[in-house]
């Protein structure tokens, strides 16, 4: 795997001694802070996370039922102009996702205009006929989007995946930042880093702005969690807590007469907006899976009647499905009228015979993914796979080509990371969070950087040994500050 070719976001292509010019100061910090000191701070951060209970459950791993996601002390940095370009692309993409959802469950102009083959929508289980004909307040479906990005060069960002259902990870963005401010205050003195701590307020404002028309001036908003045994429970409670709203479980909600109520110590209270962290399938046993014990019976009926807003809207899977993903450039062009500012990773749809042939010929070079898989499972990374694995995928592809897509292996960018052998480049990806409310789309200046801690590995999923980093977005004045004298001078003065 071409690790040498990978672009390092701090060190550039030139290695530790020749960092990218705008980030020279950070490279110095990395070089000059003793390893033991970095390790000590890292340990302090992880202890805090453990004490706070910021844990996640790994499927099929009972002993590690409560593990923290490894954290890395070296931040990942976006320059102000890089971020400005990224934001534009993200806003354009999320606007298109919302327009697409509103269209596909409504008039379906995009199909009438022949942009997509209709069967890819209608035969897709992610198209939920249960919500067809419903129009959520202000036509907004994907209130919270997490767009997974990868980078291959200074100006080369690609969208790897859209998450328009219930994207998680925002609590890491906020907790990682808290830890960095506490443990590395000198970085914040010397870099003007955009704050992320307004996220809960922005989210709450977004929720209020999409309340149903009958909700009154102070709509009751809640976060709905499947329960405290859910792997992302910490995040659910963290968000409810920092927004100052109730965290409810299905048993707390009752639907009566198409209205959602929550059960309190003094009787029922009407609920207007629900940020639900329960998948569509389990949301309402009357409409979706009848065997769901996690759901709220009747909630879809209240939703259809327009008495409650669900965030994100049920049915959004049709916008972030891997089969739809390959059409995203066309979808963005159709709704925005311009080219997508953030390109897709080139994608071969194995359902198309020509593409399948191409993929089968080049399996060792490609990444193959299940259309309906997630979390890094059901995935082949050609360059690092054994020949048995490759042959297993070859057979699977021939048997059910429509279930797979393939992409070239990208030389994902790296960021210096503290490893057992000292600082070394490790591959990263990035999930920024985009909020859409009545008054428009906004990108929070930060996000979740996931890092593949294993040398050479491209798999960043936390369930497969990935970790996280803080993601700094520099404010435009950052360069000036540096010219005026950063940490370097301060250190000299102090010593």
């Amino acid at each position: 795997m071409g690790d040498l070719r990978a672009f390092d976001e701090i060190w550039g292509q030139g290695g530790p001694d020749n960092p990218r010019e705008p980030l020279a100061m950070l490279a110095d910090w990395i070089a000059e802070t003793p390893r033991e000191e970095l390790a000590r701070r890292l340990e302090a951060a992880e202890n805090t996370f453990r004490q706070l209970g910021i844990t996640f459950a790994v499927y099929g791993d009972r002993d590690a039922a409560e593990r923290i996601i490894p954290f890395d002390i070296v931040p990942r940095v976006f320059l102000a102009d890089e971020w400005a370009r990224l934001s534009e692309g993200l806003i354009q993409r999320v606007e298109a996702i919302n327009a697409f959802l509103d269209d596909i469950y409504g008039d379906r102009r995009i199909l009438a205009d022949g942009v997509l083959p209709p069967d890819i929508v209608f035969r897709n289980p992610q198209f939920r006929h249960e919500v067809a004909g419903i129009r959520p307040p202000h036509g907004i479906w994907a209130h919270i989007c997490g767009i997974d990005l990868v980078r291959t060069g200074p100006d080369d960002f690609f969208v790897l995946e859209d998450n328009a259902r219930t994207p998680s990870g925002v609590s890491y963005m906020l907790e990682n930042r808290e830890a960095m401010i506490r443990l590395c205050p000198e970085l914040f003195r010397n870099f003007r880093v955009a704050a992320v701590d307004s996220y809960p307020d922005r989210l709450h404002e977004t929720m209020r702005s999409v309340a149903p028309p009958g909700a009154g001036s102070r709509p009751v908003c809640v976060v709905l969690t499947p329960g405290h045994f859910n792997s992302a429970y910490y995040e659910h409670s963290f968000l409810a807590d920092s927004m100052g709203i109730e965290l409810v479980e299905p048993a707390d909600l009752v639907v009566d007469d198409d209205i959602v109520w929550m059960q309190t110590i003094a009787g029922r209270v009407k609920v207007d907006v629900i940020y639900r962290r329960i998948d569509d399938d389990f949301l309402d046993p009357v409409v979706f899976r009848p065997d769901s014990l996690l759901g709220v019976p009747g909630i879809m009926s209240a939703y259809r009647a327009g008495n409650v807003t669900l965030i994100n809207a049920p049915g959004n899977g049709i916008a972030d499905d891997k089969a739809i993903y390959s059409y995203m450039p066309e979808i963005v062009r159709y709704y925005s009228g311009g080219e997508a500012k953030l390109p897709n990773v080139e994608t071969y749809r194995c359902r198309e015979p020509q593409a399948l042939k191409y993929v089968l010929d080049r399996l060792p070079e490609l990444v193959v993914k299940l259309v309906d898989g997630s979390g890094g499972y059901g995935m082949l990374v050609g360059p690092t796979a054994s020949s048995e694995e490759i042959e297993r995928f070859r057979a699977a592809l021939i048997a059910e080509p429509h279930r797979y897509i393939a992409q070239p292996t990208l030389a994902l960018s790296t960021v210096p990371t503290l490893t057992e052998k000292g600082l070394a480049p490790r591959h990263v990806d990035f999930r920024p969070f985009v909020l859409t409310g009545r008054d428009g789309v906004q990108v929070v200046p930060g996000g979740l950087t996931r890092v593949a801690l294993k040398e050479g590995s491209l798999v960043v999923n936390s369930s497969q040994g990935g970790g996280t980093k803080d993601s700094f977005v520099l404010l435009p004045e950052a360069r000036q500050m540096q010219k005026m004298g950063g940490m370097f001078q301060q250190q000299e003065l102090g010593s």
Partner: protein, 313 residues
């Protein structure tokens, strides 16, 4: 915003389980001291009574082990096979706390989590010293939790936790007196006869009342006075009188918040009125065991009434 019924239930049970864990820790500590450190080892009888106080005698008997210090201390601290051990109480407390993370401060949550983590790496309590160290650590964390609760906003979250603690503490103290009194004063033995100082000190230690006793009574250690202290003196936080008072106080605060009164309020106030008229000598003459049994039954009924009033289920 009014509190969710489920949240209220979790907070109430959080209060109960932390209190129970703390009580078992004190009981084990006092029994270890009695058994291992006093001049006359109390032996298996002391450990058997510890099991009865915590309602775990049947579960322990089922294990077939001998009721010696090593076995019972292990059973009451780290055994995960029955619900009456400290580790299980802390696990339940933590589960309830996790379910209501948003209603707790970080400080309160971390105290619970740290107490729970104490048991994560520990497989055996080992000898008496190790057991004492463990229960000392548990006490430190539960004290930390109580402190955190005191520093929380004065709202219904705190009131439900304290309501749970008060109901639990009432049961624990009543049970402690009932079991120990009969063990120490077998039928027919005169009240006020020769007492085993160490044994009675154990009771006081379990409810942190050694100093309080000295403050309130100038006489030496006398069973009737220990009973009086534990039953009727509201100055002692673990006395039945104090628990009964606190229950009424917490329900009153909650009632103001919700604007509603219910069966639990009426039951708790009636109990307080009776407690004010209770005189220890009359209780002893009338039969302490019968009186305590009735108290424990009424406490259980109150627990049910609370669950119903706040729609826990």
């Amino acid at each position: 915003m009014l509190m969710l019924s489920r949240t209220a239930a979790s907070l109430y049970w959080l209060g109960r389980y932390v209190e129970r864990a703390d009580f078992i820790a004190r009981l084990v500590e006092a029994t270890v001291r009695l058994d291992a450190l006093s001049a006359t080892p109390a032996g298996e009888a002391a450990w058997e009574s510890a099991l009865r106080v915590t309602y775990t005698d049947e579960a322990f008997a089922a294990s077939g082990a001998r009721a010696d210090q090593t076995n019972v201390a292990r059973f009451l601290t780290i055994d995960t096979g029955h619900p009456g051990s400290i580790v299980q109480c802390l696990d339940m407390a933590r589960n309830n706390a996790r379910a209501v993370r948003t209603a707790l401060t970080r400080e309160a949550w971390t105290a619970i989590n740290r107490a729970w983590l104490l048991f994560n790496s520990r497989m055996r309590p080992g000898n008496a010293m190790a057991t004492l160290n463990l229960v000392e650590a548990v006490k430190a964390e539960t004290r930390g939790f109580e402190g955190a609760i005191l520093r929380m906003m004065r709202n219904e979250a705190v009131w439900f936790i304290r309501l749970g603690s008060a109901v639990e503490r009432a049961d624990n103290t009543a049970r402690l007196i009932d079991v120990k009194y009969h063990l120490l004063l077998p039928e027919g033995a005169p009240v006020g006869g020769i007492v085993d100082r160490d044994q009675w000190t154990t009771i006081l230690q379990t409810v942190s009342a050694v100093t309080a006793y000295r403050w309130l009574y100038s006489e030496g250690l006398e069973p009737r006075l220990v009973i009086d202290l534990l039953l009727t003196r509201p100055e002692l936080p673990r006395s039945l009188a104090a628990c009964v008072e606190e229950t009424v106080e917490m329900l009153g605060l909650l009632g103001k918040r919700t604007g509603l009164q219910g069966g639990a309020d009426r039951m708790a106030r009636a109990r307080l009125a009776r407690m004010h008229k209770t005189r220890t000598p009359e209780v002893i003459v009338g039969g302490l065991h019968e009186w305590l049994s009735a108290f424990i039954a009424e406490n259980l009924a109150l627990d049910r009434a609370i669950a119903q009033q706040f729609r826990f289920i």
